[in-house]
């Protein structure tokens, strides 16, 4: 995924349109822009698609994650709205593009010096998830629609993969310090924290989403309550048969144990 965003570190929300529009439109018609002659004579379809999708994001708060938003985006870029008809997954394409852009933006922020050094791992995780979720703030009114699009069976493989990548990258940026906890367990735990916060966020109308960040800190703390959460996550991983290396017998025992010990557990699936 080619990212063509240039964002100053101070900005915490994604504003693709205003930063890239000027650069994009000039490069398609003249040969003296920073992209030089590469765009002439043929713009690649994937590039055009990415440009249209980026421009469409500006219309999402008003039109939702829909074909109308993509057609408006295509008009902004100077391309016939017909092109939207050729996107294979329509609305899902827009949502998936947004998820990719956000991930790229997150990685850029981390590389360009998001201050993580002085924080303990749990605080790092909190900060990274917060940075990532803040990118969704401009679209919060339509985010439930995006979630439902991602939950369609057809779109689940891609959305699952994108979220798995996000969680991987976050762990990687955290420094992936200690422990021999199983890799799947770590993914699951973090995935759970991220998803529950993400679902909580659209319901929050506190100023600057303060309640959401408090909720997030609470979930991260729970997850880092080591003894409790490793055990919980292990049992959970056993339930879904993920690589903890036990036999079927062990699996059944695990399920039995989980059912009897799990009370107000906070790990949720993703």
């Amino acid at each position: 995924m080619i990212s063509i965003l240039i964002i100053e570190p101070a900005i915490t929300t994604i504003i693709p349109f205003s930063h890239t529009y000027g650069l994009c439109t000039s490069s398609s018609s003249s040969t003296t822009t920073w992209e030089g002659t590469r765009r002439k004579p043929r713009a690649e379809f994937q590039e055009e698609k990415a440009r249209v999708l980026s421009a469409s994001l500006r219309h999402v708060p008003r039109l939702g994650w829909t074909e109308e938003a993509m057609m408006a985006g295509s008009r902004d870029v100077g391309v016939s709205p017909s092109i939207v008809g050729s996107f294979s997954s329509k609305e899902a394409a827009l949502v998936e593009h947004f998820m990719d852009e956000c991930l790229q933006l997150l990685l850029d922020r981390v590389d360009s010096g998001l201050d993580l050094q002085n924080l303990i791992p749990s605080e790092r995780i909190s900060k990274l998830i917060r940075v990532r979720l803040e990118m969704q703030v401009p679209y919060m009114s339509k985010w439930p629609q995006a979630l439902s699009i991602q939950a369609h069976p057809v779109n689940v493989p891609t959305s699952f993969k994108q979220r798995a990548m996000l969680v991987d990258e976050i762990w990687h940026s955290v420094g992936d310090g200690a422990s021999d906890i199983d890799w799947y367990v770590k993914r699951t735990v973090l995935g759970g924290v991220y998803s529950t916060t993400e679902i909580y966020m659209p319901t929050d109308d506190s100023p600057e989403n303060r309640d959401t960040w408090a909720f997030l800190d609470g979930r991260v703390k729970d997850a880092f309550d080591l003894k409790k959460s490793i055990q919980e996550a292990k049992y959970f991983a056993q339930d879904i048969g993920a690589g903890v290396g036990k036999s079927f017998q062990g699996l059944m025992n695990g399920v039995m144990q989980t059912m009897s010990t799990r009370g107000g557990g906070s790990s949720s699936a993703f």
């Binding site: 109308e68 057609m71 016939s80 709205p81 939207v84 008809g85």
Partner: protein
């Protein structure tokens, strides 16, 4: 009835000059399995369609067992028409595809879902272009029957696919259903399609194509050469025209070859989808 569809992406433009020039020349000088002079082909094809115009729709139904309707639905579905679009349907004489696009844009459901946006207040324009006035007349008649005689969205134009009278970069969509086979110079028609489309505009071609599946191929050949001309005789009173039809299908370039030709005209993202094992293929591409 089972519809098989295989979609293949055609990204590269490998061109073998000699063989392509030769086969284009052969298309331009072939009238079915007969050899004719290039200048004459157009006239001969014109005669065919003047003769079949009045029974064109019935014959389509009979020959394809009604399947042609589904194929056209699929074509229009792929196009995803939108309100305010400028669309050109070439060789669309009797209006099948144009009516479907009109319905798609104006359906109640669509209108209800449409958000108010300045640009969508532009008028949808569907141009139906055909070289044969008889076919256009049948189309206009059908429009009148549907109560669309005076509707400004549908415009019937007499014209040649190889030399369109429309401006450059003026169309959002271009379709040609069961028409490109009859054009004398395919590459000219493709070049014209490229010219009139806007950036981002889509080209869609529905055409009878080649079947490679072993046993089915023989069944199809048998049906084509034994049954269809007889049906033509029986229903339309015109064996020769339908003989021409089945022969011209065999002479038309196969799917991959045609996809190369489309790519050569400058189109991007050239793909094709086979329906009914290759009896019919929908080629699609985008101008960028």
């Amino acid at each position: 009835m089972a519809l098989r569809s295989i979609s293949r992406r055609f990204g590269s433009r490998i061109l073998n000059y000699r063989s392509s020039v030769a086969s284009l020349h052969s298309h331009a000088t072939s009238f079915g399995f007969q050899q004719v002079k290039e200048e004459e082909k157009s006239k001969l094809v014109g005669n065919v369609f003047t003769n079949v115009a009045s029974s064109y729709d019935i014959m389509n139904d009979v020959m394809s067992g009604g399947l042609h309707r589904l194929w056209k639905e699929r074509l229009v579905g792929k196009l995803s028409p939108f309100a305010g679009m400028k669309h050109l349907d070439v060789a669309g004489g009797t209006g099948d595809v144009a009516f479907r696009i009109f319905d798609a844009v104006n359906s109640v459901k669509r209108r209800a879902l449409r958000k108010v946006d300045e640009d969508s207040l532009e008028e949808t324009q569907i141009y139906v272009c055909d070289i044969n006035p008889n076919m256009l007349n049948v189309g206009k008649q059908r429009a009148a029957e549907r109560g669309l005689r005076d509707n400004k969205s549908l415009v019937w134009v007499e014209g040649d696919a190889e030399a369109l009278s429309f401006d450059d970069n003026s169309m959002d969509g271009y379709t040609i259903a069961f028409g490109i086979r009859n054009v004398t110079h395919i590459e000219k028609a493709l070049a014209e399609a490229y010219r009139v489309l806007k950036r981002g505009g889509r080209f869609l071609c529905l055409e009878l194509s080649h079947v490679d599946i072993p046993v089915f191929k023989d069944v199809y050949d048998l049906y084509s050469f034994k049954v269809i001309p007889n049906l033509g005789e029986l229903i339309a009173g015109d064996r020769e025209s339908y003989q021409y039809l089945v022969e011209s299908v065999r002479r038309f370039p196969p799917q991959e070859k045609f996809a190369t030709m489309i790519a050569d005209a400058g189109f991007e993202k050239v793909e094709y989808e086979n329906l009914v094992g290759g009896v019919v293929a929908i080629h699609s591409a985008i101008k960028l």
